[in-house]
Structure formats: structure tokens, C-alpha cells
Amino acid sequence: MSATSTGIGKSNGKVVPAAYPPPVDSPQEFVKRGLDSEDELIEVGVAIVGGGTAGLACANRLLQLLADDPDLMERLGEVPVAVIEKAKTCGGHNLSGAVMRPGPLQELFPELTREDWRKEGFAFGEVTKEAVYMTPTSKLGVRIPVPPPFKNHGNEIVSVSALARYQQRQAEEGGAYVLTETSATQLIVEEGRVVGVRSGDKGRGKDGEPLGNFEPGTDIKAKAVVLAEGCWGHLTGAAIREFDLADGREPQVWELGVKEVWKVPRPLDRLIHTVGPWPAKISGKYGQVGGTWLYPMKDERTGDDLVSIGFVIGLEYADATTSPHDLLQTFKLHPLVRKILAGGERVAWGAKALPGGGYWSMPKLSMPGAVIVGDAGGMVDTAALKGVHHCINSGKLAAEAIYRGLKNGETSFEPYEYMIEDSLTGRELYEVRNLRQPFQKGFLKGGPLVNLAIATRGKLPPGRLAWHRNDEKPMFIGNTYKRYPRPDGRYTFDKLSSVFITGNATRDDAPNHIRVQKHVPREVAETWKWMCPAGVYEIPDDAPETGPVDVIVNYTNCVQCGAITAKGGRLTTPEGGDGPLYQIT
């Protein structure tokens, strides 16, 4: 069925990306019915898909519990806990702001002090001063009182990429098997229950043909599976569909963040957020709601003064020329930022999508044989800009639920859902459940309702505010792009040199892991081209000005941010080991 012939895909004459869905058959491709025979599979106790903050918190906690329970450890077999990570090392694909509420990490590793965190190289100091600015224009910055959700006093600046590396070491010391450079491509379901995952093939060529170094994937059978894939979760998406986990929930919506880390000559003395509207457009027509951060980072191991700077925008925007990467470059031109970065040097860059729907968009978090933790489960509080502590908390609670379940010989881990509801994660996400939705009406129209929600600590507006899907937003070709600076290669950067410093080196003849329709209206093609921070989508110079165009997909540039899934495409798992190698993002 072609979208254009049926007339869908147009809304008031405008084009909707959802009308050009990716060529994907999720139940057929991403769910495997039944396990291979016993001598062809690997059997583990608990299989954790994704070695990020949440998945490793689950591994860390499970191994703590198993250390005191040799009987159960024994019963889980030779590999009690396996972590499956597609990056070259854990943390390689992790990126966040990040300013973290310290509680859950302190609970996870009670013997560690915050001073120890800094010595380990994943924490960079406690927030003592903070400021929030409105930026009405490219020149003006108006300091405003810190809105309650933004209060960060006492929180810790961290790098989730470095934190994951630390957690990986802890997990391995505790007896986990961390399978890096391994992607999990299929969820294995038997008799209505998740019984494992299948790892991806390696060494396939562009057309899927096996090359000389071809290695087929393997079924990994597990007593419990933890989906900790972050955003966008490949198997999580398949599981949500297979087990109807989003039934009765709001659709998930997404945001995209682009971040740089700068080494600066003078330490920044405070944490700064800006709430716009500039560099985004204020008019509701553009649908742009974004904000920025500037976090001071003191690297205690090198003595370097660093600054984390980033821009986040909801993917509900309507102007196809919205480019989060270039908006970050634009933001750096503001005098407020120049003052901080002047004389400095960019040392890292990265981009990552995050779930923005909050409470109402969270899927049911358990299914027979498996649970969902962290960002994969949508556990981000986008009012407070916080998710790291929810990742740790959910991973830890999942470990406790699975431990109890396995001990009692159960295959349902449903109690995990109630544990989340009763924990700080459930409470905090409930409080801000209706806070961000009004912004879908635009920055100006939505503002008062947002303030109401903040002022009443979430009691008002009452009920359940709906979310509209990001890919159903009609797109138009606007002029946001006129704001973007021409990169000078020293202070402002183009996309490709940014991808380069991520250490991305995806094999050129690997199969394409990005599913999109390649013949689409210009509005959709422009949306992808500008949105993608890594320059994956290109429109040929000689493409027609109007009507459908052929999109070139440079998938080897991909840093696996996941945003394409929100705007009409689908990110699937590439070959293990491909993609960026983030260090300090």
C-alpha cells in the first residue's frame, strides 16, 4: 500500500512521517519462536540486554545478592549473570547530561563515598551553585528564579559513559560475563514466555551475504531476561508489541540531546540551565520546545576543568530544518556561553534520544520471563531532567525481584512493577505525570499549564493528559536552518568532524541497520537530514525541488542515537562493536 495513493500522509496539505513507516515486520523479524537445540545454544542464569547504567545496576545488585546465596548461584549454572552489550565496551554508547540525584547509587554501592566516585573518574563534583536563564534572543540572557523541578543543589555531575565502565568492572569482579561487541537481535519466546535472546550475526556484507569472517549468532537461553536497552530499545519495542505492554498507555514521545564536553581554562562555578526559547523558535507553528545545560566538571584524576554543554529538544517539532546538532552550535554563540568556553577545546561530542513521555507513556514493565528497566521503560523525568538515578533504582529493584522470583522457582517477575510504583521512581514520575504535555501546544500556550503543574506539585491539571505521537506531527520546510552558523572547526563544528571524535568506525561493508523508506516526500527527507546529528541522511544535489526524493543513507556514520525511530524510521541493532566509543559523555 503506497501512502501517496491512499491519501494518508497528508494533513492539511502537510506531510506526516508516520505515513511512510519503516519496512519492518517486528513480530516476524525480531521475535524468534522457540530455542535452538540444546547443543547449539548458550545457557545463562539471567541475561541482561544492555550494559548501560540500568542494566549494570541490575547486574551489580544481583551479584551482591548471589554472593550471599551460593545455593542459588550454583543453580544458575556456569554463567549466572550475562550482560550483552553492543558497544566495544560498556559505556561506549552511553550519553547523558548528566546531573544525578546521588541516593540510588549510594544505595547500590554503600561502601563508596562520593569522593571515591570522583577518584574512579565517573563523578565530577557536587552542585553547590546553580542558575537558570531565559534566552529570549541570541544576545539576551535573563536570570530567573530556579523552578522547583530544576533544583539541583547537592546533586552530582557524572558521566554515564564512565559510570558504566566502572559498573562493568564491578560486575565482572562479582562474576558476571560481559559480552561486549554483541548485539541482541531477537527476543526468543516459547509458549507465551520470554526464554532468551539471540545474538546478532557478525561478518555479513552489505547485502546480508556471509563474508569470509562470518560468525552466526547464538541463542542465549536464560531463566530471566532484563531488557535494559536504553532508548531506542530494539527488543523492548518487539516485546511491547508481542505482549501488548503499551495497552491502555499513552504513546511514547521522544527528545533528542546533543552534547559536547569542553576542556576550559577557567572552572565554571555553577550549574546552568537555559529554558529558551532561543535558539529554538518561539512561535507555536515550529513546535520547538528545547533547553540547554552547562555543567561544570572537575576531573580529579587529571586536574582538568571541563564543562558539559548540551541542547535537548522534543521531537514533536514541525519544522523539518530543525537540527539539534546545529542548534547546539548556535547556542554556543550566545555571550553567556562564549564567556565560559572561550579559550577552551572541545574534547568530546555525542548524541542520544531519550524517552520524554514520562509516567503515562511507560509500558507495563514485566512480562512472563522478562522485565524492562531504565530508559527502555521510559523512566525519565523530563521536568527535572533526571533519569540516571531512576535507571540505577530500577535496575536494582529488578535484580531484587528476579532474585526472589528465581529463589522461589517462579517465572513471573510482576512484583517488580509494584516495587517500582512504591519506590522513588514511581513517586517522582507520578508527580510530574502531566507536566510536559501542555508544551505540545507550544512554548507560549503551554507555559501556564506547566507552571500550574509545578506549583501544585502535580495535583493540577487533574486526570491524564494525552501525548501525540511525534511521527504524526505534520512537517513543513521552515527556516530554522538560517540560524545555524557555518562551522569554523575550532568553536563550532560540522556533523562529520563531530562523529569522527566519537571514535566511530563502523565497518563500511556492514549491512544497513537503519530501516527507512528511501523514496519519500521532501518534507520527510529534509526532516531526517537535519535531525540526524551524525549526517546519516543525505538528499542528492540533483533531487527534484518538489515531490518525492531518494534519500541516501550513510549508515556507517550512525551513532545510534535512536531519534529516527520517533520520526518515521526504525533503528535496529547493527553488528556488535559498531558505532561510537564514548568516553566521558
Binding site: 557555518r486 572547526g489 560540522d494 562529520l496 568532524s497 562523529v499 569522527f500 571524535i501 566519537t502 571514535g503 566511530n504 568506525a505 563502523t506 565497518r507 563500511d508 561493508d509 540533483d542 541516501i552 550513510n554 556507517t556 566509543l581 568516553q583
Partner: protein, 325 residues
């Protein structure tokens, strides 16, 4: 301090260019360390004493020659292990390439030695060698020092420059080796060329490289004509290789080959950093691009803003005329 032993690969009576670069580099480093540089060769009858002695031109003092199977790693590991045991070399140096990687790895395992691959520079520090290796997509340099009796350094292709030292003939020393039982289990069945590589772009002095700006696959004809007139070879960017316009063997850049010709002529190449890292060491860079803002102009010696469809044919004519004259 023991000496430096360099593995030299040969084929049909000629030494490999990267190996000769490694001998030159080894001789230079040996001079700084106050020791000597030796070479080791393994092969059959085409390795004459006269041929081996010419390695002295590049600075080798002695050439250890062993009779053995060519093009296979394990026999060379046996030979090098014996030469090192008998002569107490402190370093083994390779010019790069897959065979070098394999021999170096095997030797590292055999001798329990440290190994660094893809090395782009070697320096003397406190009387010892340290190897520099680009990491994280060439955005950073890691420096390796060696512990123990032997350090193994394997260069990246073209990392070491060939230099004639003016030295005389090297002393050729025949080595008798008892090969390990597994070493001669493999035999060379066929020597194949890399797909699509009729010219080895890594060896060419002049490269004409084409990018997306050529417009279509047929645009490479212009490059081929110019390269033909120059007596050079054609290279390509990843984008056009992806698009199927030219074979992968000609790809320059982060995920392709690294080249350093005397002249690199870039036609319709924007010059993204992923491409730059593969060709920035070229002696002279000339860029033709219709976009005056293309990043390639920032690191070209000569930049031409214009239509390559007009410029390339004229350039070809001019080169032909000059050569004919």
C-alpha cells in the same frame, strides 16, 4: 642494548616498499640508540646473496637469510625467534601489512613479548624505543613503552619512509632453522590480488581521487584519463565507493587506505575529516571543487573553485602535451 631486527618481505626478486621503509627506520633508530639494525628474510632461490646485500643501502648491517616457505607467517616466526635468541636483538620491527601483523603476533606469543600494531611513529626515549599508535579513529595518539627483553613494533602501511643511507653491501648470514612441526603444515596455494586492485594506490606517486562531486559513476572516466596521463592511479572517497561508483580497494580515509603520494589531486571531494586522515600526509594536495566553502580548501596547497567536468579534461590535455613535448 641489543639491536633491531627488521623483517623484509619480498616477491619475485624485489623487496616490498614498506619493508624497505622499515629497514630505513630501523637503521635510523639504531643510530640513535647506539646499536645496529639487521634484516631477516625467508624464501627460496630468488633470494640471492647479491639481492640480500642491497639491503645495506637502506642501513641494514647484517641480513639473516633462511630457506623456507614464502608468504606464510609461522615459518618466519620460527626464523625470527631463532635469530633473536642467537643475537639478542631488543626489538623486532615490521613495515606493516597483514603478514607483518600475523608474524608479529606470533612472535609476541612465542617470545612473551609486548607488541604494538598500526604504529605511525617510533622515538627514542631514555635509551629505549617508544611506539606511537593512533587510537579512537586516529583522534588520539597512544604511546607504548616496552617491558622485558623484546619489544615488537609493527608499522602502519606507509608509516616509514624509505631512505638510502649510502651504506655499502650488508653482510649476508645464512641461518639454519628447525621449523616447528606446525609451521610447514600450510602451503601457499595461490597468491591473489585484492579485489579490484589493478594498481596499488598505496605505492603510487600521483593519485587522482574522485568524490561525490563527480556527479555520477561515469565521472571517474575523467579521473582515469588524468591519472593515465600522469602515470598515476585513481583513488576514491567512501561516499562514491558506497554508491558503487568505484571499487573498495581504491577507498581512501578512516575506513579505507592511508596514502602519502607526492601529488594528491582531489576532484569533487569535500574533505570531511574521515577522508582527510587517509591523505593528509600527501606531499602536495590540489583540490578542485565547485563549493568554495568545502573544508578541503583548508588543507590544500592549491585550490581550484570550478567545474571539474571542464577542468579535468583540460588538465589531462595539458599534461599529455607537456609529457609529449
Amino acid at each position: 642494548m641489543g639491536g633491531i631486527l627488521v623483517y623484509v618481505l619480498h616477491y619475485e626478486g624485489a623487496f616490498n616498499k614498506n619493508s624497505l621503509g622499515a629497514v630505513s627506520e630501523g637503521a635510523k633508530l639504531a643510530g640513535e640508540l647506539g646499536t645496529t639494525c639487521d634484516a631477516v628474510v625467508v624464501g627460496g632461490a630468488d633470494l640471492t646473496n647479491d639481492l640480500c646485500a642491497t639491503l645495506g643501502t637502506y642501513g641494514a648491517k647484517r641480513v639473516f637469510k633462511a630457506e623456507g616457505a614464502e608468504g606464510l607467517a609461522q615459518p618466519v616466526v620460527d626464523v625470527m625467534a631463532k635469530v633473536i635468541d642467537d643475537n639478542s636483538h631488543s626489538y623486532a620491527l615490521f613495515g606493516g601489512g597483514l603478514l607483518g601483523f600475523e608474524i608479529g603476533a606470533g612472535l609476541a606469543a612465542r617470545k612473551n613479548a609486548g607488541v604494538t600494531m598500526e604504529v605511525t611513529g617510533v622515538a627514542v626515549q631514555n635509551g629505549a624505543l617508544v611506539a606511537e599508535r593512533p587510537i579512537l579513529g586516529d583522534s588520539q595518539i597512544s604511546v607504548s613503552k616496552y617491558r622485558g627483553d623484546l619489544g615488537i613494533i609493527i608499522g602502519r602501511i606507509n608509516a616509514f619512509e624509505i631512505k638510502e643511507t649510502g651504506g655499502g653491501a650488508a653482510e649476508v648470514v645464512d641461518v639454519a632453522v628447525d621449523y616447528s612441526p606446525w609451521s610447514n603444515q600450510a602451503t601457499m596455494v595461490q597468491r591473489g590480488e585484492q579485489r579490484g586492485a589493478d594498481v596499488n594506490i598505496e605505492d603510487a606517486d600521483i593519485l587522482v581521487a574522485g568524490g561525490r562531486g563527480l556527479g555520477k559513476a561515469e565521472g571517474f572516466q575523467l579521473c582515469e584519463e588524468l591519472a593515465g596521463a600522469f602515470g598515476g592511479a585513481v583513488a576514491a572517497t567512501r561516499a562514491v565507493v558506497d554508491a558503487g561508483w568505484y571499487p573498495y580497494a581504491a577507498q581512501i580515509g578512516q575506513t579505507g587506505k592511508t596514502v602519502s603520494p607526492k601529488l594528491y589531486l582531489a576532484a569533487g571531494i569535500s574533505g570531511a575529516i574521515q577522508h582527510k586522515v587517509g591523505m593528509q600526509a600527501s606531499e602536495n594536495i590540489v583540490a578542485i571543487n565547485k563549493d568554495a566553502n568545502a573544508p578541503i580548501f583548508e588543507f590544500s596547497d592549491l585550490g581550484i573553485v570550478g567545474d571539474l567536468n571542464k577542468i579535468l579534461p583540460k588538465l589531462t590535455e595539458a599534461v599529455k602535451a607537456k609529457k609529449g613535448a
